[in-house]
């Protein structure tokens, strides 16, 4: 099976286009072998993780600000 025919990888790309980054990451993890061997794709997968981490941090900061307002 080539990367181009790996259904998990293709589904991951579709999820990426739909901006469903968590789902994309799940699919990419299922294609782990191909991603481990391909530097470009590893960057893609890591960029999704970074984006999710940034969003998580933003959410935490937002909760912190709300708590301050309540106090």
């Amino acid at each position: 099976m080539t990367l181009e025919t790996d259904l998990n990888y293709i589904e991951g790309l579709k999820a990426l286009k739909n901006r469903d980054y968590e789902e994309a990451l799940e699919y990419f993890k299922m294609s782990q072998k191909e991603f481990a061997e391909n530097r470009d794709l590893r960057i893609l997968s890591e960029a999704v993780e970074l984006l999710l981490a940034a969003r998580n941090d933003l959410a935490l900061l937002s909760v912190g600000e709300n708590n301050k307002e309540l106090i």
Binding site: T2, L3, E4, T5, Y9, I10, L13, L16, K17, R19, Y21, L41, L44, A47, V48, L50, L51, A54, R55, D57, L58, L61
Partner: protein
């Protein structure tokens, strides 16, 4: 810049990067699928089936991808190899064959050049029409066929079955030679080959009949 602003900027840039990267990767997937389809057409051709219509459609549909450089160098070599496989089996009686050959030549000029691992070089002293030269030509075709089947991970018996079908449908003697060679190899390795020998003889007889009628 506050931490929130930094994170918001990071989020926007990563989103932009990922959308562009997804577009590029999707294009690669589409190119890869097209090459797979051409591989299927090549396989059908090697089995002696009529592929001119499918090939014509494939060439027309994928020309924009060729013109837009959507195929990478490895992909172009694979396309070149498949087109060469198909080209040898095109039906000369079909009026479309000439147009297809011209189109294939255009693809070659744009980079879809075949590249095989083995190149048999002819010595300067060998006469063009010598028996040795003829044998080398057939041996080279056989080698390419085996390489092709090997890439498809086919068992020797499946190779033999396919080769006999191709020998039945095509005039190239390489198929008959390869079938004979495979039968001999399988026989000395303990396989039951009687049905294949019968089929080979039937193909030979049919071919002989065609020659005698001509």
């Amino acid at each position: 810049m506050s931490r929130v602003d930094t994170l918001l900027k990071l989020e926007a840039n990563l989103e932009s990067f990922l959308q562009r990267a997804a577009d590029i990767q999707m294009e690669k997937v589409a190119a890869g699928k097209s090459i797979e389809t051409l591989g299927e057409i090549a396989q059908e051709s090697l089995r002696g089936r009529f592929v001119s219509n499918r090939l014509g459609d494939w060439l027309a549909k994928n020309k924009p991808k060729l013109n837009d450089n959507r195929f990478d160098s490895r992909g172009l070599i694979t396309i070149g190899n498949y087109l060469q496989d198909i080209q040898t089996g095109l039906d000369e009686d079909d009026p479309e064959t000439g147009k297809l050959r011209e189109e294939i030549d255009r693809w070659k000029k744009q980079g879809a050049k075949p590249q095989r691992k083995l190149v048999l070089r002819r010595g300067a002293e060998i006469d063009e029409n010598s028996v040795t030269e003829k044998f080398l030509k057939i041996a080279k075709t056989q080698f390419e066929l085996i390489e092709y089947y090997k890439e498809k991970k086919m068992h020797l018996l499946s190779m033999l079955d396919d080769t006999l079908k191709a020998a039945e449908a095509k005039t190239d003697p390489a198929y008959l030679h390869l079938a004979g060679s495979l039968i001999y190899f399988l026989k000395i390795n303990g396989y039951k080959v009687d049905p294949y020998v019968k089929k080979l003889k039937a193909v030979e007889n049919a071919r002989q009949g065609i020659k005698n009628d001509a």
